[in-house]
């Protein structure tokens, strides 16, 4: 029982400890780096599953760091949403570590590999920390660790374009961090506390204060940059295009953690009635998200680089999550949070497939993909399945979350949001079916002999493609934890 009591901190500490050991292991025994990362992330995945089980049975867990009671000490709150995010993050990062074993040998030199795994583990630990922390300043610190490790991961290949993409991401991300810090300062000045639960109680009498409203504005803008919400998404396409293919898979998780922080800000720090009715913040977010969905889909259609196309698709799909949150009902919140796992799984599969194609053929141009369907049947089969899921064809998981969000928009009396989802599904179909068409029916310009990617790359691809179907048929699986999560967040 004692170990289970400490589980919230153990889940975060496993990847962080492994991250500290990694440079040493990389210095002495280079080939064990991947094994250490896989073992650490597998342990962390098992711990997250146990944590989720505990939360489902016993309700939200509170852990006080070093035994100091809140509001003085730092509190970890593993509620339903936090436990769910821990499972999603550790599962996807585990697959990334498996996939990296072969993939990274072609992308990175031997000296950089230990650094890559160190950053990967740091990123995992800080993402989980940001999902389950109950302290506003701790949230900022976790966000900084995950931002700095993702800046470094984006430019890890050391190529000119990757360095510039990383620099651009860093400049924009650091502005977001300063805004977050300023916003947290405003809230601290008004309430005198940094604990989220304490702030939730102390804020209502101060709702008319300009300081609190400024804090809300600063935090929303800062988190929107981290989440790559449409007008503030400019860092994302460059970062995704120039990083190795495993990094965008991690980055889809990073922007999801931003969305989770927005949920925490709107419903755990401010009260749902305030952000839904008094200041229609959720409505504003949902309209921005609706514009983001359409514009990002249009951008994606005009791309010829597969990674850039998938990057704009990510901008579009994170806006779905925000749209679900912005509807502001229990159903919408459930749909938005369901899309977190569905998009992470599907986009992970698509980027893994793109990575396998680049690993084998060396081209990123969609027009040169002719005939790949016959040469790499497993990879392209998984790509097709995941692409159908992105479009939202019924038995796949993408359909389920889009259906939930659209249904929520209809029942909340916002049919225009449902129309946006329908329209964007059509636009998604245009750019994904173009790729599928070329790979299966296109004629290659020159015959090149290629075969399937190595098994350590294929297993994660097949596993994620299977998840697209499993989460489609078994949508009840994530919903068992998401329904209570939405109820707790909205205080129903």
């Amino acid at each position: 029982m004692n170990v289970l009591f400490h589980l919230p901190i153990i889940v975060i500490l496993i990847p962080l400890t492994a991250a500290y050991l990694m440079p040493l292991v990389g210095h002495k025994w280079k080939k064990w780096c991947n094994s250490l990362a896989v073992v650490a992330l597998a342990l962390s995945f098992v711990a997250s599953l146990v944590l989720a089980r505990l939360v489902l049975v016993n309700g939200p867990m509170h852990y006080y760091m070093a035994g100091f009671m809140p509001p003085w000490g730092i509190e970890l709150v593993v509620d339903y949403l936090g436990a769910y995010m821990c499972v999603v993050i550790s599962f996807i990062t585990l697959l990334v570590a498996l996939y990296s074993k072969e993939y990274i040998t072609k992308e990175l030199s031997e000296q950089r590999r230990p650094q890559y795994y160190t950053l990967l583990l740091l990123l995992t630990g800080s993402m989980m920390g940001a999902s389950i922390t109950g302290d506003l300043f701790n949230l900022f610190v976790c966000f900084e660790i995950l931002s700095i490790s993702s800046y470094a991961l984006v430019s890890i290949s050391g190529e000119g374009k990757a360095l510039l993409a990383g620099y651009k991401y860093l400049l924009i991300g650091a502005i977001a961090s300063s805004f977050l810090l300023l916003g947290i300062g405003h809230l601290y000045i008004s309430t005198g506390t940094l604990n989220m639960a304490d702030m939730f109680v102390r804020l209502p009498p101060l709702y008319s204060s300009w300081t609190v409203l400024a804090a809300l504005a600063l935090l929303i803008v800062g988190l929107s940059i981290k989440t790559a919400l449409f007008p503030l998404h400019v860092w994302l396409p460059d970062a995704y295009t120039n990083a190795p293919c495993s990094v965008p898979v991690l980055s889809t998780l990073v922007i999801k953690v931003g969305a989770v922080a927005i949920i925490r800000l709107l419903f755990n720090i401010f009260q749902p009635s305030f952000v839904i009715n008094t200041i229609p913040m959720t409505a504003a977010l949902s309209y921005i998200a609706a514009i983001a969905i359409i514009v990002a889909s249009l951008f994606a259609i005009s791309q010829t680089d597969i990674k850039r196309m998938l990057a704009y698709s990510s901008v579009c799909h994170v806006a779905y999550v925000i749209l679900g949150i912005g509807v502001g009902t229990e159903l919408g919140l459930t749909g938005g949070m369901l899309h977190i796992i569905n998009h992470a799984v599907t986009k992970g599969c698509l980027f893994f497939c793109a990575g396998a194609i680049i690993y084998k053929t060396g081209t990123r141009n969609i027009r040169e993909f002719g005939g790949l369907g016959r040469k790499m049947p497993v990879t392209m089969g998984a790509f097709t399945l995941a692409a159908l899921s992105m479009v939202g064809i019924p038995p796949t998981n993408g359909f389920m979350s889009k259906f939930y969000i659209a249904l929520a928009a209809m029942t909340a009396g916002r049919p225009e949001c449902a129309i946006v989802i329908l329209l964007s599904s059509l636009l998604n179909a245009i750019y994904f079916i173009r790729v599928i068409n070329i790979t299966y029916f296109g004629i290659p310009e020159e015959e090149i002999e290629i075969d399937e990617a190595p098994p350590t790359m294929l297993y994660p691809i097949v596993m994620l493609a299977a998840c697209c179907l499993i989460l489609g048929f078994g949508v009840e699986l994530p919903l068992t934890i998401l329904r209570p999560a939405a109820q707790v967040l909205l205080g129903v």
Binding site: F137, I148, A152, G160, L164, Y167, L171, A174, I175, G185
Partner: protein, 125 residues
């Protein structure tokens, strides 16, 4: 006799200073073409945030929050709020690591392109 509006400005001069510094920093980031100068703008924004925190924790006539025992212990001592300073220590570490990473990237970019002017780099790409 000082007008009311002017007094309002004067009484919160610490906040106004940090607001002006944030604006200067953001302006630098937008206008300057040199990548290092852009980053210096960011450092100004960060420092303005630190000043904002530290000045909000300060109490007029306050002393360092150390409990003194013995004959020097005064009865009604006003302490400065230590928490914002502690928070800023963490934020300074964060800003430092961001700066270190940015400068590393800037060195690498200079090695690749031979310039740090963002417009020149775009031409070279």
């Amino acid at each position: 006799m000082i007008p009311v509006e002017f007094e309002f400005l004067l009484r919160h001069y610490n906040y106004w200073t940090s607001v002006i510094l944030v604006m200067i920093g953001l302006y630098t980031m937008i206008v300057k073409k040199n990548l290092i100068k852009k980053f210096m703008g960011l450092n100004i924004v960060e420092t303005a945030t630190f000043l904002f925190y530290i000045s909000m924790g300060d109490v007029e006539g306050g002393v360092a929050p150390v409990i003194v025992h013995g004959e020097h212990a005064a009865e009604h001592v006003v302490y400065v709020n230590p928490l914002p300073s502690v928070l800023i220590l963490t934020a300074i570490v964060v800003a430092l690591s961001t700066t270190a990473l940015a400068l590393t990237l800037a060195i690498k970019i200079y090695e690749k392109y031979g310039t740090l002017n963002s417009e020149r780099i775009l031409e070279l790409m």
